[in-house]
Amino acid sequence: MTLRNLRGRVAFIFTDENFDVDQIVGVKNIRLQDEQELARIAMQAYDPTFSRDVRPGDILIGAANFGYGHPHYPPMVAMRGLGIAGVIAESFSPGYWWGEMAEGFPQIACAGILGLVERWDDIEVDWANSSIINHSKGRTLSFAPLGRVDQKIIEAGGLVRFLKGARDERSGEPA
């Protein structure tokens, strides 16, 4: 199995370094768990019509050390609920990155991404060539490929499925 390319529009660009993702839903809402409710309130502080404008497959862009602080899961639950397919950032904070990758939510570190894209550009994550293609502007930029295990976790759709698959393989059962 190989990873299917992500193709979508740039839904939003978070330009702040060390961005605290909790701000996406607001600290007051950080204990919410319902995906639809989270999706409805997401991004109110940034773009009140975000949930209406975004389409399944769209991609978020972040700056350096994206996810710094003490990130909680609800903000990206909201984003997945809106159909966001992944996040590309200049770089990630480790705790955030591990947490979202374990959810099977692609997180791609790509130095220079802020210079490659503008909001609503049509972009593609080309896994095989480890590059981001900006179809709107006809430009590409390469990124460091995911590790072997990280790739398998994304392929499997998250850590739990990956571990189950690995366990089945070991016991000789069909995956």
Partner: protein, 418 residues
């Protein structure tokens, strides 16, 4: 070419002769630690059984569970949560440490901080076991892997070496030094790396001070922090070690991804301004700012050195009327030692509210602030809502600064008391 202490630990637990940064390896952690908390331990216990069909963990002696959050309980549901944890530990033959103190401290006291060991936890503050030459990794949700098999997947991190020179001024604490590092090197300076502390300046820092620095290392982007163990820390750790492991040290010719030198004499008291742990500022820029609350405790403070500093500042004085000063020793052993030294009476007589050890003050479960209130705190974090209302504010600082500020009801420089 030599190896760092981190690479040597990971080579041993992977069974490989050597490892290099970037290698993807499979390792068997020596210890798997956790505190019980909703969404974490209950999920692992359930998933292990229901999704993987595993009734009991293999080698239960590798596991350790701490009850330090939701302590004491405030609702029947919290107590039921702890009951389920106690039952799981009993069924699995796993050691449970309850009402002993904050797990990251207690784990050193009860012998999990074995020099050369790999210790995993879901919480990255476990990095403080690096004080004793153990590699403590906070692996977040990947903890599940340690429940359903004996090995976990890891990518070998690079190491950033920080050489300390000189010594801290009186009244400046290891806590100030940690945030000085964040300010000077940046909040992503050690991203996905291990921070290794060394240099001649290390000799002037206490074990407790190093626990503070290594435990907070995540705010430089580090995935852990480690110190090559000296004789004092080896003696402490080996006397209570739960497993026989050969200690290891970094080679002289080890390769580092970056090397920095930090002059300790330059460090001055700091505050970390809300709402980001990245926003380190000199205390002098905020001296005089009114505060109503003070918290001295957490896994990043509340040890004897911190309690001594606070008692020294508060000696013979009294906190300002209307100010709430909560002091929470990091473990019950520390509480007892502080009582024997007369520190507890000194703090209480100065107006401090002293509690038995618990994590609950650090995240606002108790001593909860309301909108518009402001705290000086040795807790781990200053993000919005961490200690109560999203419209309250937390200024992180040293134990000495908390005490000095409690006397004035304003952020105050503690150096004049030392």
């Amino acid at each position: 070419m030599g190896s760092t202490i981190t690479e040597k630990v990971l080579a041993r637990v992977s069974g490989l002769p050597t490892v290099q940064p970037g290698d993807e390896i499979s390792v068997k952690p020596d210890f798997v630690l956790m505190y019980d908390f909703p969404g974490y331990t209950d999920s692992y216990f359930r998933q292990m059984k229901e999704e993987f069909g595993i009734d009991k963990v293999g080698e239960p002696e590798r596991f350790g569970v701490f009850i330090d959050h939701m302590l004491p309980t405030a609702t029947p549901q919290e107590e039921e949560f702890h009951i389920a944890t106690r039952r799981w530990c009993a069924d699995n033959g796993v050691a449970l440490f309850e009402r002993r103190g904050i797990g990251h401290q207690v784990s050193a006291e009860v012998g999990f901080a074995v020099p050369g060991a790999l210790v995993v936890h879901f919480d990255p503050h476990v990095a403080q076991l690096g004080t004793f030459g153990a590699l403590g990794l906070g692996i977040h949700r990947n903890m599940l892997e340690a429940f359903v098999g004996d090995r976990i997947s890891l990518k070998v991190p690079g190491t950033v070496r920080i050489n300390l020179v000189g010594s801290l001024q009186p009244g400046v604490m290891a806590r100030d030094l940690f945030h000085h590092l964040v300010g000077k090197l940046g909040p992503s300076s050690c991203r996905f790396q291990v921070m290794e502390l060394g240099g001649t300046g290390l000799r002037g820092l206490s074990t407790e001070g190093l626990q503070t620095i290594t435990g907070l290392s995540m705010f430089t982007g580090a995935i852990s922090a480690i110190v090559n163990p000296d004789e004092e820390r080896l003696a402490y750790a080996l006397a209570r070690a739960r497993k026989a492991i050969e200690p290891v040290w970094s080679d002289e010719d080890a390769t580092y991804s970056a090397v920095y030198e930090i002059d300790l004499t330059e460090v001055e008291p700091i505050v970390v301004v809300p709402p980001s742990p990245a926003d380190t500022r000199p205390l002098r820029e905020f001296a005089g700012l009114e505060v109503q609350n003070g918290y001295l405790g957490s896994c990043a403070s509340g040890r004897l050195e911190d309690l001594r500093a606070a008692a020294r500042v508060l000696a013979g004085g009294h906190i300002v009327p209307g100010f709430s000063l909560n002091v929470v020793p990091t473990s019950q052993d520390i509480m007892a030692a502080a009582a024997r030294e007369g520190l507890i009476s000194a703090l209480v007589e100065a107006g401090a509210f002293v509690s038995s050890s618990s994590c609950d003050y650090c995240y606002g479960r108790i001593a909860t602030m309301s909108a518009g209130q402001r705290a000086v705190s040795t807790g781990t974090l200053n993000v919005r809502g961490r200690m109560g209302s999203p419209d309250s504010e937390i200024y992180l600082c040293s134990a000495a600064t908390v005490a000095a500020s409690a006397l004035e009801g304003r952020i105050a420089d503690p150096r004049r008391y030392f």
